[in-house]
């Protein structure tokens, strides 16, 4: 097993990219990553995307992207696990290099959600079509069900949920690639239009276009490249019941807990060793549950932990310095790799105004659906 490094990364701005196509945004991010890595070829490629077929009517994007990036005939494959498609794609890239099968692998993610599709319907296909969606539930609805149960059981407050969005919007003001680079207040979040009670539109990540890519090599190969590389220390993935209602406890994201546990074990570290984390805050309540499952705080304490500023940029464990899905944007298939791009830039010390001081170990957590799948990676400076 070879150790694996991220040697280059690149992403597009996230937002409503009306003038650019699905293929154009992927190629833009890929060219940035290849240029950043300084490699002269790619051996193999994985592309994470949730449902380009529903969003723009295009499947088979592995071949499409290899073609338009000018790297055909290399092998390429699309990876799908709803909103953690590209996080899972990274795992495959890691395995391919670790096994010695390839030396240079490009892993990317892309989604074009603003080309006119019914985004609420397309996203809902990540839930159980026959037994959740058929009844009329939506994704905000599923997270609202989690939020209501969490508030009822642990006393989590409406203000604590809003504190997640306020923090992430603040971080987003310092990220030039973020979709929303503006502050929001607690009152604005709580008084915004309700999407699914108790969640408002400002508890929710937006509908976004965007792409992100990284180049992976072995750690030994990375030394020849003379670029600042970041080593992948750990990787973990897990699944849970697809339907939220089938879980023993709807406030527990078991796949997140187990994927985190596996990644910590592989890395040989504990939650308190993490200096910076990018987690899947598709809704405010999700970040609260995730920081509990990853062991940054106790079960049920995610609300007060956030409210007290522990997850802020200067806090005990900075969470989502990029602005997270909430402020940076959430082009679903691209999100997993965009999280990696942020953590790599943080560990390289390239994160500008949102730089977490002395960041040596970083974590990414990317989740599919209402927690039916989750993937965690841990990175360190080399």
């Amino acid at each position: 097993m070879r150790e694996v490094a991220v040697v280059g990364c690149g992403m597009t701005k996230f937002g409503e990219l009306w003038e650019k196509s699905l293929r154009d945004i992927f190629v833009e991010a890929a060219l940035k990553a290849i240029d950043d890595a300084g490699v002269d070829h790619i051996d193999s490629m994985y592309v994470g995307a949730m449902t380009p077929g529903l969003f723009v009517g295009q499947e088979h994007i592995s071949a499409l992207m290899a073609d338009y990036l000018g790297i055909a005939p290399i092998p390429a494959m699309r990876v799908e696990s709803a909103c953690c498609s590209s996080g899972m794609a990274l795992r495959l890239g890691l395995f391919e290099i670790s096994s010695g099968y390839s030396d240079i692998v490009l892993v990317g993610g892309v989604e074009k959600m603003n080309d006119g599709a019914d985004a609420t319907y397309a996203l809902a296909t990540a839930a159980d079509q026959e037994y959740e969606v058929y009844q009329g539930v939506t994704f905000p609805g599923l997270y609202a069900l989690i939020a209501r149960a969490h508030m009822h059981r642990y006393g989590t407050t409406r203000e604590q949920l809003a504190a997640v969005s306020v923090k992430n919007h603040h971080n987003g003001t310092m990220n030039p690639n973020a979709q929303f680079q503006r502050e929001v207040t607690l009152e604005q979040v709580m008084n915004a239009t309700l999407v699914a009670d108790p969640l408002t539109v400002l508890d929710s990540s937006p509908v976004s276009d965007g792409a992100a890519c990284v180049v992976l090599t072995s750690v030994d190969f990375a030394k020849q490249l003379k670029v600042p590389s970041v080593k992948i220390l750990g990787s973990g993935a897990a699944t849970d019941t697809l339907a939220l209602h089938n879980r023993e406890d709807i406030t527990t994201l078991k796949a997140v807990k187990l994927s985190g546990k596996a990644a910590y074990k592989m890395a040989g570290i504990k939650p308190s060793d993490i200096d910076v984390a990018e987690v899947h805050d598709c809704f405010s309540i999700a970040e609260i549950c995730i920081i509990e499952e990853l062991g940054f705080t106790e079960k049920g304490k995610g609300g007060p932990f956030t409210e007290q500023g522990n997850t802020a940029l200067e806090g005990k464990i900075p969470v989502n310095p990029s602005g997270g899905l909430k402020s940076k944007g959430h082009p679903v298939g691209a999100t997993g790799i965009a999280q990696v791009v942020e953590v790599v830039e943080q560990l390289r010390g390239n994160a500008g105004k949102r730089q977490v001081k002395n960041a040596k170990i970083g974590l990414t957590q990317n989740m599919g659906g209402s927690g039916g799948s989750s993937v965690v990676h841990i990175f360190t400076t080399t």
């Binding site: 019914d118 037994y131 009329g136 539930v137 149960a149 699914a196 939220l244 709807i250």
Partner: protein, 129 residues
């Protein structure tokens, strides 16, 4: 919802048919081929209790196209009295009437009409007891 799918799910949508594992007794709705509890592949046919309890609830205010004319509508996760959980609408009530722990009963209702010319989709919803 394509028609073959709709027809296949009728026993659950119309009659709340479930499966009970012959080995460990765990209930599944819809029925499965393999027991997620013990791995057994043998089941007896059974039914959800027609009453249950609200475990969590929300009001959907932004809906996909098929449900757009119904907003706002209440959705809950309900545990039937024989221990099976489902996602279902709660109808004929005001939003403020909904509470975790309240009892509901299952009823047979129209859910939505499929597309422009599609079939009318029926199934279970719940009302407060």
């Amino acid at each position: 919802m394509p028609s073959p799918t709709y027809r296949r799910e009728m026993p659950q949508r119309y009659r709340l048919e479930a499966a009970k594992c012959k080995k460990c007794g765990k209930l599944f709705f819809p029925p499965r081929l393999v027991c997620a509890g013990c791995g057994s592949k043998e089941f007896d046919k059974t039914k959800l209790s027609e009453t249950g309890t609200i475990l969590s609830h929300t009001m959907i205010r932004v809906a996909p196209a098929d449900f757009a004319t119904q907003v706002p509508y209440a959705i809950a996760i309900v545990e039937s009295d024989n221990g099976v959980r489902v996602t279902t609408q709660v109808v004929d009530c005001k939003p403020e009437d909904l509470e975790i722990g309240k009892k509901v009963k299952f009823i047979f209702r129209k859910l939505y009409e499929e597309g422009h010319t599609g079939i009318i989709c029926y199934g279970y919803k719940t009302v407060l007891v």
